[in-house]
Symmetry: C2
Subunit: 327 residues, 2 copies
């Protein structure tokens, strides 16, 4: 099987590639060819025993999508996007990369299929940013998408295209609406959502972290390991069970910031919790207050997608996957 | 006020233009300039006392949207689209006209506004085709859009763009999801929905009509007069009451084919009803079975949009507006 990962240099993309390199049957069939694509050339893991190719390409540049489709991968993971903040600040770039780039990929596959029969599986990374407040207490699978950012708009549009192209048999698409990924590895960044990870990751390494909101803030989470699991499951699953509604809100954990901190106390003790410094930030508080807090991801669960059910588990996964199993 | 109607040669477009020509304050302020646009040059009504201009233009052709936006209308009605059947049969044309044409218009307005401050009101004709079965008994205002046609996909995408461009203040948009318009004037056509109008319009003129489905089929209707009323109300209304959810399912009448026929009997007698010939068509039956049957259009009603509540009223409007008041 030839697998292409677009957005392979990102955090989830890298972990997804590593998972396929470590287990050649992670996507349900042996992967003998991996094509990794990102705007900067991604790395092919040394552990991968098949033919690995790394390409620097921007889907929104003329001809690039056609070049990728011409390699006729059996399975495509499309994770490439510019993030929410940048898509909001730069209107043209957001629409060009997140909408036109994705559409160019879908069109290139359609034209490749017109040349000679071809219909790969297409796993698309969407986001809970397709939803906009006000929300019900739990957002159900039939709740409408009324995004309040250009990023969310671009993702919602790509979801519609994904469903229409799948309905027409151009590809076999699954849209994966990711929860907020926690604990993100790396260093604190300026993303408004960063603190959800910072207040766990930094204390687990003996460093201080800033909490800009109240402990009563509720949000929707899954670990990086779960995110990779969603993509692999979407690649393996029998898509005939999905029907025409191709975009799925992934399962996750609805938790309070206070529950994150309690889990940190249980796993790493009071000393770790003391490293969280409260520094209320009204701007971040306002941004976060517009985010979804809970979902009833019934369809995805019924289709076999799974995620963590406690923050203790999310913290333990971080310790196992990022800290070599110990703190 | 300078008003532009794109799609001015279509059935609803023509009636909308006539309404503005007959009452210069129909949109809440005096219309002294009308620019009428369609792929074939539309007619400026003789009754219009202001400056009328007719243009043949296809929004999806390079430069055309820019040319239209440069005239800086205060109010734009965008009704231009190719219909469902054609958008399904011709993938490229459907996306080019219904998606790219609309996006080109939106982008041209954005660029016009970057040149010098400009933010017109934009009324966009959407459709209940943005919904796809299975449906709840009544489709509420928060039900998700999962279209089962490329036409519905294109309309749903334009709705998302409309909301995002409005949120950014590029224009002040309102999306109008039209019910099935009944009684459509003219002659029977091959549209799968044609019979809903044919079985009333033809017998009202003493002609035979074919009914291809059972009387138990339920569907969602509004008269051409209501459709025009929706657009005029959207042009006049205080949009601050809408908030960021800019696309509205219009009110309508949920009725059985049997109820259409009963209303025909009451208004035009048994002789008219006898002109309906039953000729079951399994293909049309199957298509129609996938359509929405009822909506709870609460938001639009609360915002002042109104439609008929009985089929007797729909028939009487046809007699008044199309048959000179008598049958």
């Amino acid at each position: 099987m030839h697998v292409m990962v677009i957005g392979a240099a990102g955090m989830v993309g890298r972990k997804l590639v590593e998972a396929m390199a470590a287990d050649a049957a992670a996507v349900g069939a042996e992967v003998d060819r991996l094509t990794l694509v990102d705007v900067i050339e991604p790395a092919v893991p040394a552990a991968f025993s098949g033919v690995g190719t790394a390409l620097a390409a921007d889907l929104s540049e003329p001809g690039e999508a056609t070049r990728l489709a011409a390699t006729r991968p059996d399975l495509i993971f499309h994770l490439a996007a510019i993030v929410s903040g940048e898509a909001e600040a730069d209107f043209d770039k957001g629409y060009r990369v997140n909408l036109d780039g994705t559409r160019a990929l879908f069109e290139a596959i359609r034209h490749e299929g017109l040349r000679a029969p071809y219909s790969p599986r297409m796993i698309f990374a969407s986001s809970i940013a397709v939803f906009g407040e006000p929300f019900p207490e739990k957002i159900g699978d039939e709740f409408f998408t009324t995004p309040l950012t250009s990023y969310g708009t671009q993702k919602a549009i790509c979801e519609l295209l994904l469903a229409d192209y799948s309905r027409r048999g151009i590809f076999d698409g699954v849209g994966i609406r990711l929860p907020t990924i926690c604990i993100r590895p790396g260093t604190p960044n300026k993303a408004a959502s960063g603190f959800f990870s910072n207040i766990l990751r930094e204390p687990l390494s003996g460093k201080e972290a800033v909490l800009p909101v109240d402990e009563s803030v509720r949000h929707w989470f899954a670990s990086p390991r779960s995110a990779v699991g969603f993509f692999l499951h979407a690649a393996r699953m029998d898509t005939s069970a999905i029907g025409p509604r191709r975009n799925l809100t992934m399962p996750g954990l609805s938790a309070l910031v206070g529950e994150e901190i309690e889990a940190l106390r249980r796993v790493a003790g009071e000393r770790a919790v003391k490293l969280i410094r409260r520094e209320p930030d009204p701007v971040i508080r306002r941004i976060v207050s517009g985010w979804a807090t809970d979902f009833d991801a019934r369809r995805a669960r019924a289709l076999g997608f799974t995620a963590e059910t406690t923050f203790d588990e999310i913290i333990r996964i971080h310790i196992e996957d990022e800290l070599g199993g110990k703190i």
